[in-house]
Amino acid sequence: MLLKLKDAVRLYGHYLSINIRSAMQYKTSFFLTALGQFLVSFNVFLGIYFMFRRFSAVEGFTYSEVLLCFSVVLLEFSMAEMFARGFDLFPEMVRTGSFDQVLVRPRNEILQVLGSKFEITRIGRMLQAVVMFWYGVSHSGVDWNFPKIATVIFMLIGGCAVFSGLFLIYAALCFFTLEGLEFMNVLTDGAREYGRYPVSIYGKKMLLVTTFLIPYALVQYYPLLYLLEKDSRPFLIFVPLLAVWFLLPSYALWRFGVRHYQSSGS
């Protein structure tokens, strides 16, 4: 089991190095795109900044508190994206039939799909997320102690799992629709954009949906309450880890899709 895992990591590393080398053939384009990615998510931050120049608080959250929320969500998303955005190109693989090649190889399909194309330029967004995270954490005014640091780490793990699960669902649905569903962007990119504010500002119903259906609130709202000392019940520290369960139904849907895959293309 362990040996298999080590082997998988080595293969993934190999895929990664191939992709980096191919991206480096176009150096200027690479750096410009990375810079662009860096700037794009900066817009959202500026949006928050200017809104709070005018308003002092929303739903009881101040600027620095919203900033912490935004920066954590952004890092959760960027980590998942670095790792799992390869699923974005999956519709293309299904349509052209190149998924057949993947199936006949004696390796895990997910690993191969993820390795097939690795958008290395996303490094710009990742860099921006790290900078934002550092800024958000240092300006949050939170009194950091061990449980709070653990909470943030759990939030990152849980959030990464939720977003990866969503990317996986996006890919799995392609087995049935043969094309990428634009609507899924609302759940991934939309969650990144609108996840900048704590879920509670979208009302009770939204809070329920994001607690039980797609567990954004578990990696954002509830642990945030603990971090900001709005709610000091210690179980909130571990709530983000519950979100990891979201990977199970996503994976099940993927397996179901693979089993029902009918080759298309030529």
Binding site: S29, G36, R54, F55, V186, G190, Y194, I201, G203
Partner: protein, 267 residues
């Protein structure tokens, strides 16, 4: 002129073919519209006195923005055009007795109009029947509505004229990626696509309203929702015309330069 009108017609009918894509896009835009209004609503409830527009004007702004997204979104560019430059197929167009600038101008206008025509009506109709605070308001007056339509067209032309600059720059840089992302994220922000311009601090707003970006979606959307005074509207329309002339003149001059020096890529 006639040949460019037929380029427009061709692209327009082509754009109308993508109905499934339009439907999927509409569903997405509804979701974005709702979330956007929820955010503004939360700020409104927190501090109504700091709100620069009325809540109903903000809702109208958001729905109009979603309905006409295809007219103003700079990130929706013609990938065909980039492809012809990068692949070298541009040589065919250069052989034709047309001005590349004018041809692309009419084509991208047509694509945007076709996309918007497919999407705007369902969005606007549904938005008109939503409960408060989500409902889109009626235009302030018939006069406002007329002016809205005129500035909508002017705004579209300014947007296209601006995106033409990006196409022309691609002649010099070959890879469109970088220039494109930097430009589009800048436009998005300064045009009021992230937050409407009235939400910026007053000194920022004064400067931003003079820039070409403010002549895009900002003017028609705010005239519709009635959040501009008479003098402001007059100034905004004049600015739109000025920027349109400046951008088109600069763009077509740059285009001619590029045509002279063009390197055909590929083989």
């Amino acid at each position: 002129m006639k040949k460019y009108l037929s380029f427009f017609r061709l692209r327009f009918t082509m754009g109308l073919q993508y109905r499934t894509a339009a439907l999927a896009g509409m569903v997405t835009q509804f979701a974005w519209g709702f979330l956007e209004i929820m955010v503004f609503q939360a700020f409104y409830q927190a501090q109504a006195e700091a709100f620069p527009m009325t809540m109903s004007a903000t809702a109208s702004y958001v729905w109009m923005q979603q309905a006409f997204l295809a007219l103003f979104a700079t990130w929706m560019m013609e990938n065909d055009i980039f492809d012809t430059i990068v692949s070298g197929n541009i040589s065919y167009s250069l052989c034709r007795p047309v001005r590349i600038y004018n041809m692309w101008f009419s084509q991208s206008t047509a694509t945007r109009v076709a996309r918007a025509v497919l999407r705007c009506f369902p969005i606007l109709i549904v938005a008109a029947f939503l409960p408060e605070p989500y409902r889109i308001a009626k235009p302030a007056s018939a006069w406002h509505f007329g002016l809205f339509l005129i500035t909508l067209i002017l705004g579209l032309l300014v947007t296209v004229a601006f995106s033409m600059l990006i196409y022309v720059f691609t002649f010099f840089t070959v890879s469109p990626q970088g220039v494109r992302i930097v430009f589009t994220s800048m436009v998005d922000f300064f045009a009021g696509a992230i937050i409407p311009l009235p939400f910026f601090p007053a000194d920022w707003q004064r400067v931003l309203e003079l820039l070409p970006f403010a002549s895009m979606q900002n003017v028609p959307l705010r005239i519709y929702s009635g959040s501009m005074s008479g003098a402001e509207m007059k100034k905004a329309v004049v600015l739109q015309l000025v920027w349109l002339v400046v951008l088109v003149t600069f763009g077509s001059w740059l285009g001619r330069m590029a045509e002279k020096k063009v390197t055909i890529q590929g083989g």
